[in-house]
Subunit: 251 residues, 8 copies
Amino acid sequence: MDIHRLKALLAQVADGSTPVDTAATQLQRLSHEDIEYAHIDHHRSLRKGFPEVIFGAGKTAEQIIGIMQRMAEQESVILVTRIDADKAAAVHAAIPDCRYHEDARMIIMQQSPLPDTGRGTIMVVSAGTSDIPVAQEAALTARAMGHTVETVFDVGVAGLHRLMAHHGKLGTATVIIVVAGMEGALPSVVAGLVAAPVIAVPTSVGYGVSLGGLTALFGMLSSCSSNVAVVNIDNGFGAGYMAAAINRRPE
Amino acid sequence: MDIHRLKALLAQVADGSTPVDTAATQLQRLSHEDIEYAHIDHHRSLRKGFPEVIFGAGKTAEQIIGIMQRMAEQESVILVTRIDADKAAAVHAAIPDCRYHEDARMIIMQQSPLPDTGRGTIMVVSAGTSDIPVAQEAALTARAMGHTVETVFDVGVAGLHRLMAHHGKLGTATVIIVVAGMEGALPSVVAGLVAAPVIAVPTSVGYGVSLGGLTALFGMLSSCSSNVAVVNIDNGFGAGYMAAAINRRPE
Amino acid sequence: MDIHRLKALLAQVADGSTPVDTAATQLQRLSHEDIEYAHIDHHRSLRKGFPEVIFGAGKTAEQIIGIMQRMAEQESVILVTRIDADKAAAVHAAIPDCRYHEDARMIIMQQSPLPDTGRGTIMVVSAGTSDIPVAQEAALTARAMGHTVETVFDVGVAGLHRLMAHHGKLGTATVIIVVAGMEGALPSVVAGLVAAPVIAVPTSVGYGVSLGGLTALFGMLSSCSSNVAVVNIDNGFGAGYMAAAINRRPE
Amino acid sequence: MDIHRLKALLAQVADGSTPVDTAATQLQRLSHEDIEYAHIDHHRSLRKGFPEVIFGAGKTAEQIIGIMQRMAEQESVILVTRIDADKAAAVHAAIPDCRYHEDARMIIMQQSPLPDTGRGTIMVVSAGTSDIPVAQEAALTARAMGHTVETVFDVGVAGLHRLMAHHGKLGTATVIIVVAGMEGALPSVVAGLVAAPVIAVPTSVGYGVSLGGLTALFGMLSSCSSNVAVVNIDNGFGAGYMAAAINRRPE
Amino acid sequence: MDIHRLKALLAQVADGSTPVDTAATQLQRLSHEDIEYAHIDHHRSLRKGFPEVIFGAGKTAEQIIGIMQRMAEQESVILVTRIDADKAAAVHAAIPDCRYHEDARMIIMQQSPLPDTGRGTIMVVSAGTSDIPVAQEAALTARAMGHTVETVFDVGVAGLHRLMAHHGKLGTATVIIVVAGMEGALPSVVAGLVAAPVIAVPTSVGYGVSLGGLTALFGMLSSCSSNVAVVNIDNGFGAGYMAAAINRRPE
Amino acid sequence: MDIHRLKALLAQVADGSTPVDTAATQLQRLSHEDIEYAHIDHHRSLRKGFPEVIFGAGKTAEQIIGIMQRMAEQESVILVTRIDADKAAAVHAAIPDCRYHEDARMIIMQQSPLPDTGRGTIMVVSAGTSDIPVAQEAALTARAMGHTVETVFDVGVAGLHRLMAHHGKLGTATVIIVVAGMEGALPSVVAGLVAAPVIAVPTSVGYGVSLGGLTALFGMLSSCSSNVAVVNIDNGFGAGYMAAAINRRPE
Amino acid sequence: MDIHRLKALLAQVADGSTPVDTAATQLQRLSHEDIEYAHIDHHRSLRKGFPEVIFGAGKTAEQIIGIMQRMAEQESVILVTRIDADKAAAVHAAIPDCRYHEDARMIIMQQSPLPDTGRGTIMVVSAGTSDIPVAQEAALTARAMGHTVETVFDVGVAGLHRLMAHHGKLGTATVIIVVAGMEGALPSVVAGLVAAPVIAVPTSVGYGVSLGGLTALFGMLSSCSSNVAVVNIDNGFGAGYMAAAINRRPE
Amino acid sequence: MDIHRLKALLAQVADGSTPVDTAATQLQRLSHEDIEYAHIDHHRSLRKGFPEVIFGAGKTAEQIIGIMQRMAEQESVILVTRIDADKAAAVHAAIPDCRYHEDARMIIMQQSPLPDTGRGTIMVVSAGTSDIPVAQEAALTARAMGHTVETVFDVGVAGLHRLMAHHGKLGTATVIIVVAGMEGALPSVVAGLVAAPVIAVPTSVGYGVSLGGLTALFGMLSSCSSNVAVVNIDNGFGAGYMAAAINRRPE
């Protein structure tokens, strides 16, 4: 339950539109709610400004549905990451009011529109066409968290003039997410051009010594540019979330 | 040359206090300056808001001195990282107007005071006493870049109440740098408590399967908290720089 | 053959209810029994208090059935680990008197109830919902070995208050098994709160640099808490077995 | 401050032998004490039955001395691990009332004798002569924590009859610590002989593919015996501590 | 073409039973024969006492058939390794005069019986039931090369008495092949009991840190017994071949 | 657009056969063309002498078709690498004027014959039959780029006389590509025989410690012959491209 | 002995200036010369156009001197690589007619000037000042082999305009050697700008996940530019040798 | 105590030259002898034909001396491996009757000449001059165990004709030890030429991706020749021991 929903509930109690018992029942789950297979952290929205996000891998569709249903009573927006098409179909059948993004393998359930909460624009840049799914996951996450996002795809370092065509736009972003596989060189080049913080996302695109993304990851961590920090391989979600945390406007 | 120095120089030309030839000589090196062993990127301050930083490892004292002397003509603050005490003594002998920080293995040469350029406070938290040198490198870097920094040391997860004693302060920081070796669990815990972005710095403190910091690094990248991004092992400098980029007040 | 069965058999010989020849036949296999593809260690129950456990991976259903049938003549309880649903169905068809636990991928054949053999309660704690199958394998193993087990699931370090709600119960356990994937931070935190020994089980839950559980494993081995020892990745069985060995009441 | 010291202090307050103010000063540091470079966790003895242990690596002699002096006011026994001879000499000069064990690289400061707190005997077994320093670290730790310890050294698997000569003794231990480098096979063999829990400690003894102990570690984690759990490479201290936690007599 | 076939052919030329032209055609391929996708090394039997062995992985059934057909004109025995059941069926359809061993994934085509060429008995020992396929590959190879082989399966170190039951037999073997997965401890124990050379074969049996057999491999290479040499993971074929080379009776 | 096509277009403008507007439309895409999922680098032919090559892995058939259609308007030859048979069938259905090479997993679309652009012959040598697909990818690439290529397959170091039969031919090549899996020893041997540059290509052929080609790769990089440079595992395409760059006749 | 020296020797025999016996003595060592600790390959100059190069690491000064003295009788130029200053001093004392290059750790003994044997200019580019020693090793090697070499140092990707200032020169080189540590991104960028072959040399400059140069190496092998091949970490010598092989003018 | 010494002792008892008590004292230590830091396995000579060998690394000089003194009473020959010059000097001072081989880092104490116990000649071949110390360790070991050994050094694959000059000798050896660093290709080539078993020894000679010998090791394990088995990196001792086990003449 985020701060806006909490204040609204208390206002309803104050004006009598919600009975005390109803409010009490809801608030007693404010810390966390225990179900058989999960301790849902309803307090997270208050503490961190955004509710718990459901990591879909390794959970059954039934577990995901159960968690979403409890969360839906308390939260405006619910995200499920790393969920494949089959499980997503089962979830959608049970909870029609959500949308599956197949390339990014995410479910987003947006119960009410979010206000823009950002200080500026978040830019998402990808090195290759094969990196787009991860870049989309980042963009969708940041948008779901109430931020303005722009994307530029396929501007790898083997043809620098393609990146340079977007030089101006890069200079105005508050945060830049750079997604790249193979040698992962793009974040160093982008970060060398701007003062803004760069969140680098290595992808598992490549073969042989790309080692499932480890080479891109290590390259990004060893970047000769300093305004760079890195998230896990293929972790578009984490990059979008971190960028949103950086771009968040103080209340 | 940063934007303030550049404007000041042009003002001096405008009012005649600096002859055109003198200014031209200085400005023709604005892009970069070639010396035998380096292409010094004098343009970086303009482009990125902070001058090139000298990576001390693998350079001779002579090379470091040479680069610092050229930079000193153009920049207000010069940083040298990863420089051991012997080389630092040689540098200090040649350039007395700089200070060596032994624990952080940094030289800082501050030719003029920097204005506070931050949106808020940067907090630096370390898990153990043995992690302090890396935490100091982060704090010194961010301060040298014009930011307000607070530090809390030795609050590892084996005794959580020590961290909790600083809970309030953590909630007010704009960015938090968390420095930890061994299992590297502290960033997950800290990030779980706050909405602000967390820059995690793994250290090489530990032995056996701590693998020189790889275990802490991988743990931080695999964090179950999402407002976390990571820099290279023992890279306190990079964490301080990234935190400064995030905390920078728009002009 | 465990010590109770052995004594019972000898008592039957003493009172004449079992003929000497029948007993002799059974006892001559007491050391180990040779079948084409296995040397079944029937002596293990006497030596170690619990019979050999069948590692299902890499064995055919026929081999598993053959070994179980020989063991069933001597042992009260038989465990098969790491057996997938298809093989389990074939085993169940041949030996209906056993039960398959699909999430834990175990077969348990309990021919007679075991007395409680423990000094206290074994607690099994998991960091996430996706870690439950491994946690179940641990709990099932310890229960099959005659111990009282309690479970708490999904109390990861990103929301510490969920764990703290179970603080009291943790303090009373004789042994605690902590199951976690990703960064594997939970055992350090739990062990920091209690004096009891903690068996940490890394899981392969995660992606990218979680490296199939190696990161959680190395994190647990590098724990800054000292009352922690670790078993192999996803080795819920081993954790349950080790916890039972620790919790065993001296006879 | 452990529970005995705490009760004694309160008794002194009760009988007037300690003034209220004196006791209050001491008790206000009960949670943790802040010094410049450390948050000393004085609460740990109460919570875990044994005070914080000082990890010597990466700390200066001055830091170690400072922490020991604060702890000495509250604790009966203080351990410093992984401290080399030079630093130990500096510590000893400042705090003569402590003893350095050079092979185990430990300082032990025992201010008052500890009662035997164990349920039985802890046995420490090493595979080779070169593994003795790690085995000694384990034995010293468990003894410092108030347990009875027996040691058997150099009984590696290349000459099994040497181990078998101690078979009887092994069968009576409550916990067995097995220390081995190279292929690390000894814990599997020992655990196959007994019902007691085995704590396996890999050492960095070996060369080439022993990989600094990783091979022994992985071998121990892959053990075909199930009553085995493992600690970090060369972590004799952790093995001794874990064995003590297992062997602790309930109060 | 081996030395026996070569002499027989020349004898036939000498007695006129084979025309010179026929013999010449065959002998001109004695060095190697070029087909589109292979240079078949027909000289190998002469040089090494055994013909080239076909590595089935990565070859099409057509390629395997083509190579076998050329070899069949020159060699008494042909081996194909690492060939799955589907490809083997296609090969068998084209060349009915060969036999597929499914557990060992080998095809053996024995055109004429081989004389016993060994100095003594080769013993093949496996640690577990799951290791049998690799052990069978070793046994089949050595037998196909004309050696006497005995096998003992499932005598792992967790129950040493099972191995000890075969102590006598082990002492009489000329060479011992020991096959083991998981921690790979069995070769050290076996080699500690005998003077004969031991060929250790690590298998990929295990999970987690068994790392697909790397842990067993490294353990065997780090063996504290010295009469041990090692072959690649799951390389039963290589172990059988090497054992045959060792056991070969000088002519 | 390569330099020949560019000159032809300008000549058509000069002689009036192409209207200025038509040419202008085409030339304004000369730098790069933006489509939804790609920035196609049409300038690459001019800059590098060969157009962008499409990395098929991770792209949908639709994306590949879209990129090929845009490129077909500007380029004489288009390559798609790492494309499996299913996707290739979809591409072929949409663009019939291209050919799929199944073993090399490449699509080649050759709109007009290329002149021979080489200084001499490129030789492609493979160690085993299983390495042929990678060798074919190298040969097809270099031929598509306008070079003369000869191939020799299955001449591994276990039967050196097979390689020696081609010694003369090796001595006359301008560049030699050597493709090998397993221990990857062939490039060292070939490079020891000739003065020409050798491009070594490790393949993933092998098992166990061949580690998916890493062992061959590291062996080749550690070669005791010095006229060797290496490309990524299974990167036949890169080897062919690099050989073509070396063999390119100056214009 | 290279082809020029060989022809000269034969000419002297032809005109009687060298007696037959003297020439015979020298020619009988043409294949290789056996000394106690080495088989010197005197045939290599004839076969490969350049004599054997002495790998200094792991050899004693005495061994190096002994080999050099034998080679000096046959070769015009002798190279020793990876020789530290102490050994080099001992060599220089015994063979004053050679020169030690300390930064590149090479000894070069040039007995007669070499003719320019190249087709064009070899360019050596380094990313950072710390990479210069490796770049110098490459440049010295290629020059010693008779090629024209130009160098550009410290043009890393964090400030692309520095590299772009040399764009023209890069376009005219026959081969480009690119030396870089850390993330190793420079070769991709350089190769994206030119059609010439690029030899990439990873260096061990960096820390943490630069992993002693593995990250730069893997990045270069995963390059999204295709005209790149790679040599071992810090192998400036190999890069210089390979570049010379590529640039060699046909005779 | 080996079988010869044992028989001699019993003969002395039989003829009265040794009193029963003296013999009894010695024989009661026949199994193993316990000293403070070692269980000396005096039974090993009887069981394995050669006494325990002392692994010098990680032992103090005092421990080595103590063990040697006990062994000297029972054994004809004593070996200490991996002992550096300083410790060796201390040992030599205490036990003058032994010899230190500095390049092989071994001490050999030969109390009486050994009879030749071999079936034929063991050949030791090294790829480079830098590999000689490991090759010497192998040769010294096999000679100390009573075998005839021949050596050929520096015949690496970059100049095959050097190896071919010894082709005849290779064909007559009973066992061949091949020692090589870098890419480790020599064992494959040698094994391809002969029928005898080849023991391959990888060395740590090399740099960068030679990874301290892992690359040579993995290459040797992946050898395309089948009569090859491998020992640990730099383990010349193990290779010599294994070769002796293979070459041992049956009694």
